[in-house]
Amino acid sequence: MEPFRDDNELIAELRALRPEPSQEFSAELDERAAAGFPRRSSRPDSPLTAPIARLRELSPRRLAFSGGAVALATIAIATVVVANGGSKSDPGGYLSPLRPSERPSALSHSEHRDGNQGAAEQSSGTQYEAEPPVVGATSAPSAGTAASQVDTGPYASKAGNRNVERSAEMVLGAEPADVASDAAAVFDAVHAVDGIVLSSSVRGGAEGEAGASFDLLIPSAKLSDALAAFSAIDTVVTRHEATDDITAPTVRTGEQLRDSRARIDGLLVQLAGADSDEERAAVEAELRAERRHAAALRSEAAKLGRRANLSRVSLRIETGAAATPADENGANWGIDDALGDAGHILAIAAAVTIVGLAIVGPLALIALLAWLANRARVRRGRERALA
């Protein structure tokens, strides 16, 4: 038998060897093609089979669009949830720009302290001056007397062991005819919480002219009750609250006062044992100076105690345009507020995205690595199968 003359003859013979499908198989495959290649899997379908199959059929572009839309929707929902949660925990939530009455706004500390000093001067001689009440209460819970005085005194107000100075500003809106009755209600509310009216002014007149203003000292422990009572008197236009932690100066003053007292005691002992007039005179002079120093420290401690125990409240009753809450006419809410709120919402969205990435990122990385490893394993297996 002759071998192949050339490659063409070999190739022609080779093509004749081509395996052909049977007619039955071709017909069956054509039917399946016409039916859209229904699945032949004998495995029972799980509830996830159909969605996963649909996902696999999606083009990468559609898959990317769908994934992006789902991610955006998730971020939007999480942003709304976080923002709403924040506005609940924070009375001045940024998503409620039309409710400035609930937004805390720090008062000027210097203004605040000046005011308290003034208050101390006006109320000098009252029971609050009798004893430095808060000295040593924070850093030395075992200091006994001083601490118990603070905790059981009529104006004990500390949250935990901190000495916190609180202040508030409030503006109420009223009709001119209601100014007098509102002012009376303010007095009643102040007395109900054992507060002090440092100054008051009530003006009658037409809308915009009539009004009242009050400068009040309210026991810090009852400040919330007092503000709630004021809020119930008429429409709240604005309400600002501020806090200032004065624990450090309070503790420092208390320690200095204890040291001064110890030095006085030592000087008294020294005085009792003085042998000469010169020595006695020298010790007495030193004793006078130390007593002056101790008095100054007691005064400072008393001031700090008052600042912690009494909150200064500035309350005004307004009529006319100033009496309209911002959220009723929106006049006080402008571009700046809008930009601020938009910036805040974007910041929340960015934070949500970062947190989401921090959670999803590692999981996605693990899944990607697992997928790549599996793909490499399958490829190696396929190549080995052909070898």
């Binding site: 038998m1 002759e2 071998p3 192949f4 490659d7 070999l10 190739i11 013979e13 080779l14 093509r15 004749a16 060897l17 081509r18 395996p19 052909e20 499908p21 049977s22 198989f25 071709s26 495959l29 054509d30 399946r32 093609a33 859209g36 290649f37 699945r39 032949r40 199959a53 696999r56 059929e57 999606l58 083009s59 990468p60 572009r61 559609r62 297996g381 396929r382 190549e383 080995r384 199968a385 052909l386 070898a387």
Partner: protein
């Protein structure tokens, strides 16, 4: 029986077209691809798995997989036939892996070679010698022969299917043909 496998025509259009037209256009393009490639895919798969029943099963699986993925075909990454044969190759290799894990199947190459009754004894003998030579080739060489002469793929398409460069595919193919010829000459 001596039908020369023809290169598919008219299936070089995209399977996906645009996203909006995707379902209809992709279905039509896939239908054209199926009709032009059905027998070619079977011939290629049969030469790989060397078992008629398995070849039918793998061919059906390959088309099923390709149909499910038709919207994900990216025309920028190659020809539709190369894409389809890539899927068929994976399905066939999966079948070979499965066989490797299970019992070793003994395939008879002669089952896949039909000899017309009217052929002369000499022609029949040459064909059997060719089939035997083909069976003695390395699987990778047999795959190249099948892709080229059974399925009718161009060298560029073969390169895309097996994952080598076009020139490399041509070189390997030439070596395989030479080896096959030597095997046949030795037998004859």
């Amino acid at each position: 029986m001596n039908r020369r496998p023809t290169r598919s025509k008219g299936v070089n259009g995209t399977l996906t077209a645009t996203t909006e037209e995707a379902p209809r256009e992709a279905d039509l393009a896939f239908d054209r691809l199926y009709r032009s490639s059905r027998d070619d895919v079977y011939a290629y798969v049969a030469s790989l798995v060397r078992d008629q029943a398995a070849a039918e099963e793998v061919t059906a699986t390959a088309f099923e997989r390709a149909y499910r993925k038709r919207c994900r075909f990216d025309p920028g990454r190659g020809e539709p036939r190369a894409w389809l044969f890539g899927i068929a190759r994976n399905a066939a290799l999966d079948e070979l892996r499965r066989r490797g894990r299970q019992a070793e199947l003994v395939a008879d190459p002669a089952d896949l070679v039909s000899t017309p009754a009217y052929e002369s004894a000499e022609a029949s003998e040459r064909r059997l010698a060719l089939a035997a030579g083909l069976a003695r080739l390395e699987p990778r060489e047999r795959e190249l022969i099948a892709l080229k002469f059974f399925a009718g793929l161009a060298n560029a398409e073969i390169a895309a299917v097996v994952g080598v460069s076009e020139s490399n595919a041509g070189t390997k193919l030439h070596r395989a043909v030479t080896k096959l010829r030597e095997a046949c000459d030795g037998a004859l």
